[in-house]
């Protein structure tokens, strides 16, 4: 196994008019190939910033960060990852299939390759039959599925997901979570997943990174020993609840620091 993401003493400070804000401080983390890693913590703990730093959307101010042994910028230019944002960010002037084909157009795939990949990824996220619809004709859950298809279309090995289901109701969310697990199972991708839901993090992950704010830092890294095949009712099992309790303890430890300030 080789490290897909490797961060050493990573720090990021935003300079604002009100002074410096430390978004990340001394983050050390290694993510191996094929892992499903969740980042959990209260808002302002830097979990999204860390994901954006991996994606080269933010630049770290200290420490080192390697993606597949490259700098984040090289990795971005090599199209090493697909990014799923909090909002679907589908372009309303494109049909769903054209939206999924957008990265393929930019990366210069032939139209035959585009058609083949669009069909494959649309099937993967169960959106077959909606190719010709426009984003605003679809429900929120379907839009977010389309944005996942778009991130998968060019077959990057790393999938970065920033609270992709945060805006959806719990029923849709449960459904998409179990579909995401199946998808991960089938594609063998490495997934980094930002969330602030404990059950979601425990249900999905092989590794849970607990973070706390001011300054954003990692307080606990939990390796989950749940089996890879996870029916939804695994969430009532004692093993699941034990991991959830440990995550909750980690979050509480972060909060006590906050209350002391």
């Amino acid at each position: 196994m080789s490290a897909v993401v490797s961060a050493q003493n990573l720090g990021l400070t935003f300079r604002t008019n009100d002074g410096d804000v430390v978004a990340l401080s001394d983050v050390n983390l290694t993510i191996e190939k094929g892992e499903f890693v969740s980042f959990i913590g209260p808002s302002g703990c830097g979990k999204t910033t860390f994901l954006r730093t991996i994606a080269d959307l933010e630049q770290p101010t200290s420490g080192t960060l390697d993606i597949n042994g490259q700098t984040p910028e090289q990795a971005r230019k090599a199209r090493a990852y697909g990014y799923v944002f909090q909002a679907p960010a589908l372009y309303p002037w494109r049909t769903i299939e054209k939206n999924v084909a957008l990265p393929l157009e930019i990366m210069g795939y032939t139209s035959a390759q585009q058609a083949e990949r669009v069909k494959r990824t649309m099937d993967l996220v169960n959106l077959a039959g909606f190719e010709k619809k426009y984003p605003w004709q679809l429900s929120g859950g379907m839009q977010q599925r389309a944005s996942i298809a778009r991130a998968l279309a060019f077959d990057a090995d790393l999938l970065l997901m920033d609270e992709p289901f945060g805006a959806l109701d719990e029923i849709v969310r449960d459904h998409l979570n179990s579909e995401l697990l199946k998808l991960w199972e089938r594609t063998q991708k490495t997934i980094c997943f930002v969330t602030h839901s404990i059950p979601e993090a425990v249900y999905l992950s092989t590794k849970i990174v607990v973070m706390s704010p001011r300054p954003g830092r990692v307080t606990d890294i939990i390796e989950s020993d749940l089996p890879r095949a996870r029916p939804l009712d695994i969430r009532e099992s004692p093993e699941f609840l034990a991991i959830a309790a440990r995550v909750r303890d980690g979050l509480r430890a972060g909060h006590s620091y906050e209350e002391a300030v």
């Binding site: 199209r79 960010a89 930019i106 605003w136």
Partner: protein, 364 residues
């Protein structure tokens, strides 16, 4: 029946009754159609006991308009009941449109043809009132000629109007519009590309737009001669800035997430421009195109007031007004209004096709 409809119906019927009573002093056979309209209008008061369909009100309005127009000049001097009949006909038209718009309101999109009826009724009402007031009221021609006279002038001077239209609209307006909008667009892209140009060109564009057109037009005539190029130059100056400002704003209309997405694909500047920022700027660019379509016509006509060959809409307006041929001035105004509306309408149609996805177009 709403309160407004109630009062409209009551006043229209009441006016007819009063006018009918006043008209009884004139010989019976004089203005028979007008009297028939007044009698029927009086009878319409039975609607308070037996409901009348909205098409009945439409028929009353049409009958009233025809009766009033045919009765012009029958009575001399114009009696009070003539004016009362005109007002009653207008009230019936109002009532008709009011009821029609209420009936259509739930599914206006499905009734495009009927929806079009409302502005047509509105326009025809204005024309009928204009015709009746100017002719029956003996309004001096120089102040306001009746529409029939303007129409007669239009049909009698088609070759002149056509030559003016070609000179002003097809040459000065369209060419100036294309150049001005195109230039504004290109400069907006240049500005977007370079912060230096942003601080240098944007204030300059602002400065150019602040130039008074009345002052610039004679200068343009010096520079580009008497013919249409000088008018096109004025149009360029007028249309350049709205296009520039709107395109610059539109290029920044895409959201941060949408731009981040392009960055994650390692998309280049031009790819991001073509696939994200220009489509997102579409609604802004079309706003500028719409604003400019009317500005261009105004600019070209006014520019012709300052030196021009003996053809052109602005030239015709300025010379014919000096010769008291006000009907010709109105004929040119009518041509300009129709041309401007069609121009605007065509751009709106293209806009609907191109920015179909925008909430303001798809009605979400």
């Amino acid at each position: 029946m709403s309160q407004l409809q109630f009062f409209l119906a009551l006043v229209a019927g009441g006016l007819c009754a009063a006018a009918l009573a006043l008209s009884l002093v004139t010989p019976f056979e004089q203005g028979l159609l007008l009297k028939a309209f007044l009698a029927l209008g009086f009878l319409s008061l039975i609607r308070f006991f037996v409901p009348l369909g909205l098409w009945a009100d439409g028929a009353f309005a049409v009958l009233g308009a025809v009766a009033v127009l045919t009765a012009i000049g029958v009575f001399a001097p114009t009696p009070a009941f003539f004016w009362m009949a005109l007002i009653a006909a207008w009230l019936f038209a109002w009532l008709f449109v009011e009821r029609l718009s209420k009936a259509l309101a739930p599914g206006l999109a499905d009734n495009a043809g009927l929806g079009l009826l409302i502005p047509i009724v509105f326009g025809v009402t204005i024309l009928v009132a204009w015709e009746a007031i100017t002719r029956a009221g003996n309004v001096p021609q120089v102040i306001l000629p009746p529409p029939s006279m303007i129409w007669a002038r239009i049909t009698a001077s088609v070759p002149t109007l056509l030559a003016d239209f070609q000179q002003t609209f097809l040459k000065a307006v369209l060419i100036g519009y294309a150049l001005g909008c195109g230039l504004g667009f290109v400069v907006a892209i240049l500005i977007d590309r370079s912060p230096f140009l942003k601080s240098g060109l944007l204030p300059l564009g602002n400065f150019v737009s602040a130039l008074p057109i009345v002052g610039v037009a004679p200068i343009m005539v010096m520079w580009f001669g008497f013919d249409w190029p000088s008018k096109a130059a004025v149009v360029v100056i007028m249309t350049f800035f709205p296009m520039l400002v709107n395109t610059v704003a539109g290029l920044n209309a895409s959201s941060a997430i949408e731009r981040d997405l392009m960055r994650t694909y390692a998309a280049g500047y031009w790819q991001t421009l073509m696939k994200l920022r220009l489509p997102a700027a579409g609604p802004f660019i079309f706003n500028a195109l719409k604003i400019n379509s009317t500005l261009a016509l105004i600019g070209a006509i006014v520019a012709e007031f300052f030196g021009t060959p003996i053809v052109g809409m602005g030239f015709r307006i300025s010379t014919e007004v000096g010769r008291m041929n006000v009907d010709m001035v109105w004929a040119e105004i009518a041509v300009a209004a129709v041309a401007g509306s069609v121009f605007y309408g065509v751009i709106v149609l293209i806009e609907r096709g191109v920015t179909f996805w925008h909430p303001s177009v798809r009605g979400a």
